[in-house]
């Protein structure tokens, strides 16, 4: 259900690619809606950070990647996982804390990882994914695997030390890594204009001798094109790139946050530029896609999630003995 893997990593996506991008965004949104409803119903405990509103970034960036490429994510990682091809059944089972989950139910929402898909993990520690992405890129460089690493992070994360150290390290080592900042205007309840001593996060790129790109994170076409250029740049051995996508999270920081720190007008102004709607309009206008086709994509996403939820519900909880397994791998080279 993820975007068909993009080979021509630049320019405007083809009709099929765009349909794939659309389908990915729709799946992410549907997944998050289900997740939110389940949390509100009290089906499971734990923090839930919704990606709704930002779908274009995960969809567009991951469409510019190959299967073997690496991604590090954040506490708001469901979208990145789905776009990177992680199985929705296993993801939903993980959120239910079931043994069939991506992480056997031991990780939960903030730690979903799927090393089979190059998904090196959501992360509960702000900024922690950036150095890890540098390390994955170092592996790619030293083994000449031709792979690229992408680190997703937020506007708030751009003020933590790990951001600084990672960008500097990636630059001096010319690592094949793309730093993708999703500027959704807030870190928890703190507006970006308060916390960030710069107009844009990309204003910091020159301080690391790194190309910086600012793009519309609510336009999946723009994301796809810019990510494609940055990924190509990194893959060709020209070093890291910092991209800042201007986007917005429609919900609060976590499920249940009334988000009193922002105005209804502001929310509306971003909702009116919704990435899914705009992509739908584009597909209809540019590629003559019928609303029926679009509805089918939505229906397919819902069907996929019915399946995921029932898979999760049917799955067993982990055996209590699992509490002390997987502490050490036990394996030796």
């Amino acid at each position: 259900m993820t975007a068909e893997r993009n080979t021509d990593t630049s320019g405007t996506p083809s009709r099929e690619q765009t349909l794939g991008l659309y389908a990915t965004m729709v799946l992410i949104r549907a997944f998050e809606q289900r997740f939110a409803n389940l949390v509100l119903k009290g089906t499971f405990s734990g923090a839930g950070h919704l990606y709704i509103g930002q779908e274009a970034v995960a969809a567009g960036v991951c469409a510019a990647l190959r299967d073997g490429d690496y991604v590090t994510s954040t506490h708001r990682g469901h979208g990145h996982c789905l776009a990177k091809g992680v199985d929705p059944n296993e993801m939903m089972a993980e959120l239910f804390g079931k043994a069939t989950g991506t992480c056997k139910g031991k990780g939960g929402s903030m730690h979903i990882a799927d090393f089979r898909r190059g998904m090196l993990g959501a992360n509960g520690i702000v900024g922690a994914g950036l150095p890890i992405a540098c390390g994955a890129a170092l592996t790619a460089k030293l083994t000449k695997s031709g792979r690229v690493a992408v680190a997703f992070f937020g506007d708030g994360a751009s003020n933590i030390g790990a951001f600084h150290e990672s960008l500097n390290l990636a630059s001096i080592w010319k690592l094949p890594v793309v730093f993708v900042c999703e500027n959704n205007r807030y870190g928890e309840a703190t507006p970006v204009e308060y916390a960030l001593a710069a107009e844009h996060v990309v204003d910091r790129a020159p301080g690391y001798r790194m190309p910086g790109i600012l793009a519309d994170g609510q336009d999946v076409l723009d994301v796809f094109a810019t990510a494609g250029k940055a990924v190509a740049h990194a893959r060709e051995g020209q070093g890291p790139v910092l991209i800042e996508y201007e986007t917005y999270r429609y919900s609060g920081h976590f499920i249940g946050d009334p988000a009193r720190y922002r105005s209804a007008e502001e929310v509306e102004s971003f909702r009116s530029r919704d990435c899914v709607l705009r992509c739908a309009e584009y597909l209809q206008a540019q590629h003559g896609v019928s609303s029926k086709q679009l509805d089918d994509i939505g229906a397919e996403a819902e069907r996929r999630l019915d399946e995921a939820v029932s898979f999760a519900e049917r799955s067993p909880a982990p055996d209590l003995a699992e509490i002390v397994t997987d502490v050490y791998s036990g394996v030796r080279r």
Binding site: G105, G107, E188, L196, A317, I323
Partner: protein, 338 residues
């Protein structure tokens, strides 16, 4: 006692902060979203949060942006700044939202705050209080559920407290803010909503003093933070077994009230230490070793420890619940000793 005022641990923390901020203009509060909506007063959107755990609601409204400071996500920066502010005359209260985040900001606490007084030959003073949230039980998994208070206890120069009730939360936080040394105030997330009688006037509960939460003759159960109630529940259950258990609530981990612990064990001759932290080099073994060295001659049996398993905190609900020390485990350990 029915007529007495009963408030939650959360409200007790708010009250201690409000009273100390009124008492001393040098007391400031800083951390991530301790107010929320920073810079949005004009739009009337300020103090949107009052802290991730809502312990600071009303403080921004009363004391304003100069004394209730939202920070960027820069723990190393603002905790280090709190140390510098403390060295130069303020009495900062800095929040570390989850103790697990100490991984990005241990240095200002360890190499700076804890050692400054000593390294300066007694000249530097660092009246810093760090409030942090510890413990499992909220479904947030390995990176948001640790105790880690043993790290702070290990570091000379730090004082470490862990309240078990609203009464002690207010008294210990007040004492921490008034103390001229750096104090780490560890509050367990599952305690925030628990209520009991708390006097309205400001008061200190002395740092370095444990309490006997329940008197008993047969065995000493030692708890801290949430495990104090686990011990009390076990003690209740043990009545049916004909066992009269005493419960010592540590409250202060550093300095530790060694005398209260040792005196109790010398009376009962048996000890079970209950700690939600990880087993190795943790609080439980620290207290057990104290007893084994200084109350050995009074012991009728091995010093037992009940801790979290040697594993990160799992997400899955049933696993997480089984991960935390339970009254049943405590009771079983006691019965083995009898």
């Amino acid at each position: 006692m029915t007529s007495e005022r009963v408030i939650t641990v959360r409200a007790a923390i708010t009250e201690a902060l409000r009273q100390e901020m009124r008492r001393d203009s040098g007391v400031i509060l800083l951390g991530e979203d301790v107010a929320g909506g920073a810079g949005r007063d004009a739009e009337g959107l300020s103090e949107a949060w009052g802290g991730a755990f809502a312990e600071y609601k009303g403080l921004y409204a009363e004391f304003g942006a100069d004394r209730v400071l939202d920070t960027p996500i820069s723990e190393m920066g603002y905790l280090g700044a709190a140390v510098g502010a403390a060295m130069t005359g303020l009495r900062p209260v800095a929040e570390l939202m989850f103790v697990d985040f100490i991984g990005v900001c241990l240095d200002p606490l360890m190499n700076q705050a804890a050692f400054a007084h000593y390294m300066s030959g007694g000249r530097a003073k660092v009246p810093l209080t760090m409030i942090t949230h510890v413990g499992a039980g909220v479904g947030m998994a390995a990176q948001h559920s640790k105790m880690l208070y043993s790290f702070f206890t290990h570091i000379p120069g730090l004082k470490v407290v862990a309240p078990s009730t609203a009464y002690h939360a207010k008294g210990l936080l007040t004492a921490a803010i008034r103390d001229d040394d750096p104090v780490v105030f560890c509050v367990h997330k599952l305690l925030l909503g628990q209520s009991e009688h708390v006097p309205e006037d400001p008061y200190e509960f002395p740092i370095g003093r444990a309490r006997i939460a329940r008197e008993g003759r047969d065995v000493t159960l030692v708890g801290a933070a949430l495990t104090t109630s686990v011990c009390l529940q076990a003690a209740k259950a043990l009545e049916a077994d004909g066992v009269d258990a005493e419960v010592v609530d540590l409250l202060s981990l550093a300095p530790l009230d060694e005398e209260t612990v040792l005196a109790s064990v010398r009376r009962t001759g048996r000890a079970v230490i209950v700690d939600e932290g990880f087993p190795r080099c943790g609080l439980a073994s620290d207290v057990a070793a104290l007893i084994a060295e200084h109350a050995f001659d009074h012991l009728d049996g091995p010093v037992k420890t009940i801790t979290a398993p040697p594993a990160p905190v799992p997400f899955s609900r049933p696993l997480e619940l089984a991960f935390m020390p339970s009254p049943d485990r405590v009771r079983a350990a006691v019965l083995e000793l009898m």
